[in-house]
């Protein structure tokens, strides 16, 4: 192995860094002005067209934050971490993800669940892996036709029925009057997030915010 001066002088990888500066620089954040619904950059303040449509359809909208853009580098990361199942790669973003979750000061942090069959083959929930705070898991996935979200077109995604149910009925009581933070790995059309948030709102949560690594 070759040692560079940077590493010898201790300015290579920091103690808490999992990737080098060059790789890190490929992950981009969204610059303001942010859409108040999905957190992505928008010219139509305060809501982008997509979020306006959601609001018309449901009468409410999410308050979502995307930490990074879902660009090529992020796609490759998600592919390797989630679909190839390289669990160690959670360390690349677990630091920033955990910090953001803590910043929100929610009473309950709820990850979007993965189906039982995915959990058995993948061996982990990719959302849970990204955060190092206590989580509540009131949601479960209704077992149905097994096809990954990422293989569907935009229209197909928007047309899927409610995929979530309660893991256990008593969770509903716990959520009453609580500030809930819903987290996921990638926000694309928002369909998944809206279904998750709808259930939490029905259960009587005081507020529902959401956060995703990319979007």
């Amino acid at each position: 192995m070759k040692l560079s001066w940077h590493q010898l002088l201790g300015c290579g990888l920091g103690k808490d860094e999992a990737v080098c500066r060059e790789c890190r620089s490929q992950f981009l954040t969204y610059s303001p002005p942010h859409c108040r619904g999905c957190g992505r950059t928008t010219e139509e303040e305060p809501f982008c067209l997509e979020c306006q449509r959601w609001d018309q359809k449901l009468g409410w909208h999410l308050r979502h934050q995307c930490i990074f853009q879902y660009n090529q580098a992020m796609k490759e990361y998600i592919h390797r971490y989630k679909f190839q199942g390289d669990y160690l790669l959670r360390k690349v973003f677990s630091g920033i993800m955990t910090a953001k979750v803590k910043q929100e000061e929610a009473d309950v942090v709820v990850p979007i669940p993965v189906s039982q069959s995915t959990l058995l083959s993948r061996g982990f929930n990719q959302v849970t892996g990204l955060v190092e705070v206590p989580l509540a898991t009131p949601l479960a996935v209704v077992e149905q036709e097994k096809r990954p979200q990422s293989s569907r077109s935009r229209e197909e995604r928007l047309a899927i029925p409610q995929p979530f149910c309660w893991e256990d009925e008593h969770f509903r009581q716990i959520l009453i009057g609580k500030r809930v933070l819903l987290i996921d790995d990638v926000y694309t059309t928002g369909r998944t997030m809206y279904y998750g948030a709808a259930l939490l709102r029905q259960a009587g949560a005081k507020s529902v915010k959401s956060l995703s690594l990319a979007g």
């Binding site: 390797r80 190839q84 199942g85 390289d86 669990y87 160690l88 058995l120 083959s121 061996g123 982990f124």
Partner: protein, 444 residues
């Protein structure tokens, strides 16, 4: 999946399943010890901490690209039954070997018959592929399962049509990581050495082409892959023009039989390297210029319509050089290609079909590929990425065609370096031996 998909392979399936047929055996995926886990596919050992999944499960990061091996899964394996239709004369190639080639070919054929461990050390352009045809043909006629593997996907892609032509009646499977096509059970397989990890005691004879190429050389996992892909009594033939120290030691200790051919098939010597000092070329490149010597040479190639390859040390050098050339030689049609280039295969194909006159590339095209009648330039040949064997291989791209058995090989360096000297020395030595051999032959 059909049963034949499991013949001589290890296929990952969920641990919750049980085989539907008695001829499928179940094998474990990982060996878990107190502090480490060992992947039973690629043999890599990792610490438990880095290989951990939730709930005391483990996975292997080293061979992840082939599909994740984890303790959640198991392997299905069925013993190789050699279930092939009998082919008495599978070889449809009608070319003729030179007397020298025939001699080597016969030795190899015998070695493959005895399932030996062999090394074929022949200069670049000696016609290695043609020399293994008769060995392969005999193995196929005996009903053996055979594979030709190489560390380089470009080499596999070039081998596939050649072998298809030579063995017209034999269905061939081509396996590499960039491919979508489903696996099929075939008597003859061409694959990258990585893909060998999917096989287990499958082949009676395995040929590994360009053994000294990155990433195969000194890669424990790939050496392991070769060993476990052949049957316990299977034969291995390694081929290279530039054997590294490990292979040479094995050969000296007579752990493998060596066939040696220091002469090209057309009998002409290897083109010697023309080394020129160009000073700090990167500094000039920053200003969008190339050294004058380089520029003059390329201008000459452009006016004479001579096709050429220009090798550079790093991917980052490709664009500035292409830009500088576009400015100075606007009539020159060229393109750049590197390992992770999404259009890599298409660009190499364009060069083959004479759609471009030149390729600017990194070391990926150093070996196994033939563009007849090509000239060569290496800018920054003194960079550490060019090992002496890589430089010999690069120089060996030139003068391979019978119609143009010579060629120009220009190495442009900032300073004299050991690797270039070593490469020049090797070529001179090979040419001396080749000359001696030629003289012996003419006396006979």
């Amino acid at each position: 999946m059909v049963l034949s998909d499991y013949y001589g392979r290890r296929v990952l399936v969920s641990r919750l399943l049980t085989p539907s047929r008695p001829d499928i055996t179940v094998m474990p995926t990982m060996k878990v010890t107190a502090t480490t886990v060992r992947c039973l596919r690629c043999n890599a050992v990792s610490s438990k901490k880095s290989a951990a999944l939730p709930h005391q499960q483990y996975y292997c990061r080293h061979c992840l690209q082939l599909g994740r091996v984890s303790t959640l899964d198991q392997f299905y394996h069925a013993e190789e039954p050699n279930q092939f239709p009998v082919q008495k004369h599978p070889l449809s190639w009608r070319g003729r070997l030179s007397p020298l080639q025939s001699r080597v070919s016969a030795t190899i054929c015998q070695g493959m018959n005895d399932h030996q461990r062999q090394l074929l050390w022949a200069v670049t352009g000696a016609g290695k592929t043609e020399m293994i045809f008769s060995g392969l043909a005999d193995a196929i006629a005996r009903g053996e399962r055979v594979a030709v593997a190489s560390p380089r996907v470009d080499v596999c892609l070039e081998l596939f049509p050649r072998l298809q032509k030579a063995f017209a009646g034999v269905p061939i499977a081509l396996l590499h990581g960039r491919q979508e096509e489903k696996y099929h059970y075939r008597q003859l397989t061409i694959c990258t050495t990585h893909q060998l990890l999917r096989f287990y005691h499958a082949f009676d004879n395995l040929v590994v082409d360009e053994v000294d190429a990155f990433p195969y050389a000194a890669n424990e996992a790939l050496l392991f892959a070769t060993k476990q892909a052949v049957k316990e009594d299977g034969g291995i033939l390694m081929m290279t023009a530039t054997p590294g120290p490990v292979l040479l030691r094995e050969a000296r200790q007579q752990e493998m039989a060596v066939s040696y051919l220091p002469l090209r098939y057309h009998g002409y010597p290897l083109p010697q390297i023309d080394e020129r000092l160009v000073g700090n070329w990167r500094k000039q490149l920053h200003r969008g210029r190339l050294p004058l010597v380089v520029y003059r040479q390329i201008e000459q190639w452009t006016t004479t319509k001579q096709r050429f390859l220009l090798f550079v040390p790093h991917v980052a050098d490709l664009e500035p050089i292409a830009a500088a050339l576009k400015k100075t030689c606007p009539s020159l049609k060229l393109t750049t290609v590197y390992a992770a280039d999404p259009q890599r295969l298409a660009k190499v194909a364009a060069m083959r079909q004479h759609q471009v006159q030149a390729l600017v590339t990194t070391t990926i095209l150093e070996r196994g590929v033939t563009f007849p009648g090509i000239d060569l330039g290496v800018l920054g040949a003194d960079a550490p990425v060019f090992s002496s064997s890589a430089l010999v291989q690069i120089a060996g791209r030139a003068g391979r065609a019978k119609e143009r058995p010579t060629g120009k090989v220009c190495f442009w360096v900032s300073s004299c370096c050991r690797n270039v000297n070593e490469a020049r020395r090797q070529i001179a030595a090979l040419n001396r031996r080749g000359k001696r051999l030629r003289n012996e032959l003419s006396l006979m």
